[in-house]
């Protein structure tokens, strides 16, 4: 139980760091990388959380997470191919 709690806190902090990366990234690609990492870690977090709360039969949600994360990535890449002309510069974002 302690190991599960420790793991969940560790994954939570990794998620927070990935989120920080996605929130303040220099290039769009870094942002996508952060978002992707956030997605995969979230799926793992749900799996661990299911065991932590003693009801591990909700793993379906983790599968959906992994799936939608992938589709989101593909959609983003497709968006890049589509708008390839105005995307050659690594745009620095001004907040």
């Amino acid at each position: 139980m302690l190991a599960l709690a420790a793991t969940s806190i560790a994954i939570l902090s990794v998620m927070a760091l990935a989120l920080a990366r996605a929130l303040r990234a220099d290039t769009v690609y870094d942002r996508i990388l952060g978002v992707n990492m956030f997605g995969t870690k979230t799926a793992l977090f749900i799996a661990v959380m299911g065991f932590l709360s003693g009801r591990p039969d909700f793993l379906d949600i983790a599968i959906v997470y992994a799936l939608i994360n992938f589709i989101g990535m593909v959609a983003v890449l497709r968006f890049f191919e589509y708008t390839a002309t105005d995307d050659t510069q690594n745009n620095k974002e001004s907040s």
Partner: protein, 108 residues
């Protein structure tokens, strides 16, 4: 008892590798090394954590679902990283060595 110890070991290792991955995301100098850090540790952390969880089940439906998640993530996560790196390369992003060659590094 042995299973639980083994599972704890796996979970802790998995958490450790997740951490190294996210630190790499901040510390590595250019985008391609950052992709490397993120994707490699993502895979190993997924394998370790899912196996750690499987050892805590009674090897029934829950274990099968976990295996399904594992297969799914092992298929999609590296593919996504690969496609992203390729897309970045096509989009004209340079590695650190290439940016250094013409002028001094300006990446952070």
């Amino acid at each position: 008892m042995i299973l639980e110890t083994l599972s704890t070991l796996f979970l802790v290792l998995g958490a450790f590798f997740s951490f190294t991955g996210v630190i790499g995301l901040f510390k590595f100098p250019d985008f391609f090394t950052r992709v490397h850090a993120a994707s490699v540790t993502d895979s190993i952390a997924t394998i370790l954590i899912i196996f750690g969880l499987i050892l805590r089940t009674d090897f029934g439906l829950v274990a099968v679902k976990l295996l399904f998640i594992l297969i799914f993530m092992l298929l999609t996560s590296p593919t996504a990283s690969h496609a992203l790196a390729k897309s970045a390369r096509h989009g004209g992003l340079l590695t650190l060595a290439e940016t250094r060659a013409p002028k001094k590094e300006d990446n952070d």
